[in-house]
């Protein structure tokens, strides 16, 4: 797939240097595989480099500054919230008995879930030879890493005394404090940190050829040095490409089981406990489907923004969006099936506590949250049965926002309703978030968008080298007949 050794900037001159998209009609099918092409607009190797590298080199549109400014404000809010939390203790949140796991865990699971799409796109779709992944994989992997950063932040700060956080790692110490290996919370530490590490390595490996491109195009010595440092001496030799592909394949193989394992283990945090509403064997597959669902929704949100802002409709085509919309529809329906199956098992088990937990979810004090969840997650993606909706960016954007909201509420419903109304009615209570709960959640979006804005500002947001590989010219069966 990456058998090209000539990906430098010496490709032939583009026929149309402008970025005007040409509608993909039958006349413009890929000459080799006869399908809708993944790069439209008659672009060649050089003009693809130009499209992707130009925003990084020539500055951002005004919208970027607005989004970055808002994100920085929210990030400051996050820092204040964390500072106050550390100073005052976790009591500043709305946590109390019986709801001892509140928004921190809800938001942790939400962000880890979002972090699943990147690795799915980059690893699983790579192994399945889904060539359309090349348009979105770079940004999706970046999104994954930033989502994992946000996710890791929540358990870090929710421990209260964060200076003792090293207790979660098996580090020899004179106290003999050692993690409890029977606790799923510890499995979480390993699952998420390994996932973060592998995602960063995978993302970085894929970036190396493009970083070298950025280095070679750089005008100033500082840029040359910074990009050159991270390009790690890449010269695009045949041997480099060979090693690169092997490394990429190995990392894809390593990352593939992680896509499934991380959210499985996150679901164990709940499923291994004894609480009705949590103690369910369906949780691992249900959580993984939900994670991919929410991850793709976030990819869609970001890609719609990026495509519009950076005029990349020739690289991020309707075919890309249609494929992702289909995945959202599929996983959304799996999630809907899981919601239904939870109710079926609650009835079929004959366990009164289990039945109560689910009836209470749908019709109890948190019914509003439950029905927000169902309408956003199960109903809203159904519009993607229609081809017109899958090709309409506005519809895609709106549905993706709904799904993001719905998936946050899913974790809220699971975490809070189960705790609020457990076995003993005398212990029941209603959860109220405090100001600091809300500010921390908003702040985590600030962190996420700050990182993502910096990513599009300084790194090529589409995998230049990989997109070149899906051009018809890169296909060994291509016969340059048209001239």
């Amino acid at each position: 797939m990456f058998g090209l050794s000539s990906l430098s900037n010496t490709g032939r001159k583009p026929d149309t240097t402008g970025s005007k998209p040409m509608e993909a009609t039958n006349a413009h099918l890929d000459p080799v595989d006869g399908r809708t092409p993944l790069v439209i607009g008659g672009h060649d190797f050089h003009s693809i480099t130009e499209i992707v590298a130009r925003p990084v080199e020539q500055g951002m549109p005004r919208g970027w500054y607005i989004i970055f400014g808002i994100a920085l404000c929210l990030l400051s809010l996050l820092l204040v919230s964390i500072g106050w939390l550390v100073w005052e203790g976790v009591g500043v949140w709305g946590l109390n008995n019986p709801v001892a796991w509140g928004w921190a865990i809800v938001s942790f699971v939400f962000w880890v879930g979002i972090g699943h799409a990147g690795t799915l796109i980059s690893a699983i779709l790579y192994l399945f030879r889904q060539r359309w992944r090349t348009g979105v994989n770079r940004a999706a992997e970046a999104m994954t890493i930033f989502a994992v950063v946000c996710a890791l932040m929540f358990p870090t700060i929710h421990v209260g005394r964060i200076w003792l956080l090293y207790w979660v790692f098996p580090i020899p110490n004179q106290m003999d404090v050692w993690p409890n290996f029977r606790s799923p919370l510890l499995w979480d530490v390993f699952a998420v940190t390994i996932y973060g590490t592998v995602s960063i390595l995978f993302w970085f490996t894929g970036l190396i050829p493009d970083l070298a491109t950025m280095r070679d195009r750089a005008k100033t010595l500082t840029r040359k040095r910074v990009y050159g440092f991270f390009a790690m001496g890449w010269r695009g030799s045949n041997r480099h490409w060979h090693n690169y592909e092997v490394a990429y394949m190995i990392l894809a193989g390593l990352a593939t089981p992680l896509v499934l394992s991380v959210h499985t283990i996150v679901s164990f945090d709940f499923a291994v406990s004894q609480l009705p509403g949590w103690h369910t064997t369906i949780f691992p597959p249900y959580f993984v489907a939900g994670a991919i669902f929410s991850g793709f929704a976030m990819v869609l949100t970001l890609m719609v923004i990026c495509r519009t802002a950076f005029k990349m409709e020739n690289l991020l085509t309707n075919r890309h969006f249609e494929n992702m919309a289909k995945i959202v529809l599929t996983t959304g329906s799996i999630v809907g099936y899981a919601y239904a199956m939870e109710f079926f098992i609650a009835w079929y088990s004959g366990n009164p506590y289990e039945s109560f937990a689910f009836v209470n979810r749908a019709f109890g004090p948190y019914a509003w949250a439950y029905w927000i969840m169902v309408s956003c997650n199960v109903l809203s993606p159904q519009i993607f049965w229609f081809r017109k909706a899958r090709q309409n960016l506005t519809v895609i954007f709106i549905v993706s926002i709904f799904v993001n909201i719905g998936m946050w509420f899913e974790r809220f419903v699971i975490t809070v309703t189960s705790l609020a109304n457990d076995f003993l009615p005398s212990a029941w209570d209603y959860f109220h978030p405090s100001f600091w709960d809300i500010s921390t959640l908003l702040g985590s979006f600030g962190l996420f968008f700050t990182l993502f804005c910096l990513f599009v500002r300084y790194l090529p947001m589409v995998a230049i080298a990989e997109v070149k590989c899906v051009l018809p010219e890169s296909n060994p069966h291509h016969q340059p007949t048209e001239g």
Binding site: P172, Q174, M175, D176, R225
Partner: protein, 213 residues
């Protein structure tokens, strides 16, 4: 393309990885050793307001520990004696000693003597002397050869893993109740089999709330 970096930078990646691996390992061991109470606390010998010699009283004269620390078998703390206990003897022995002036003042109704605590456990660690003495842990096991100390110094780390070492293998340090205050008794030389003596076995807690209540 001209070189962006000088040639020596080629060795940087290996150096960085090596430094991180070695540095990380060194840091863990350094913190484990130099930050531990075994290094920082053992040997702590504060200056006391009265130069009371445990060597003279408990060693040479052979006073039983419990003559002064009389609550050790029944209470969580081993009491620091009031000045009146000292005056039981010092009313007649060395009655005019200059060094004993604070004791006499305290016994006459002045402020109590401000002894400086040597063995300090954190507030979040629950420790009960009576339970340990009752199970057969001798004074010398934790406090060392008090009978040979002019000034009392901290003999053991009192750190959490030091506690846990005993809690995991208590049989190595237990002794009969009769030998509790015997400074010469060495459990390593003469192990004590509680079951053979008809006593219940000792099962110290190892869970968090055993000590952190």
């Amino acid at each position: 393309m001209a070189n962006v970096f000088p040639q020596w930078t080629n060795s940087l990646p290996k150096l960085v990885v090596g430094a991180l691996l070695i540095g990380g390992t060194v840091a863990v061991f350094a913190v484990t050793y130099w930050f531990s109470p075994e290094y920082t606390d053992v040997g702590y010998t504060p200056k006391q307001p009265v130069p009371f010699s445990h060597k003279v009283h408990a060693g040479d004269l052979g006073l039983d520990c419990r003559y002064c620390h009389n609550s050790v078998e029944t209470s969580s703390t081993a009491a620091i004696p009031p000045a009146a206990t000292c005056m039981n003897c010092h009313r007649s022995v060395k009655a005019d000693s200059k060094a004993l002036a604070p004791i006499r003042a305290a016994a006459a109704g002045g402020d109590p003597v401000r002894w400086v605590r040597v063995h300090m456990l954190p507030d979040y660690a629950f420790f009960d002397h009576s339970v340990h003495v009752g199970a057969g842990v001798g004074c010398a096991t934790c406090h060392g050869r008090i009978d040979q100390m002019e000034e009392v110094a901290q003999h053991t780390a009192l750190s959490m893993n030091w506690c846990l070492d005993c809690h995991r293998h208590p049989e190595a340090v237990l002794r009969p109740r009769s030998e509790i205050t015997n400074m010469d008794h060495d459990p390593a030389q003469s192990p004590f089999d509680r079951a053979a003596a008809g006593l219940r076995t000792v099962d110290p807690p190892e869970h968090c709330s055993g000590c952190h209540r």
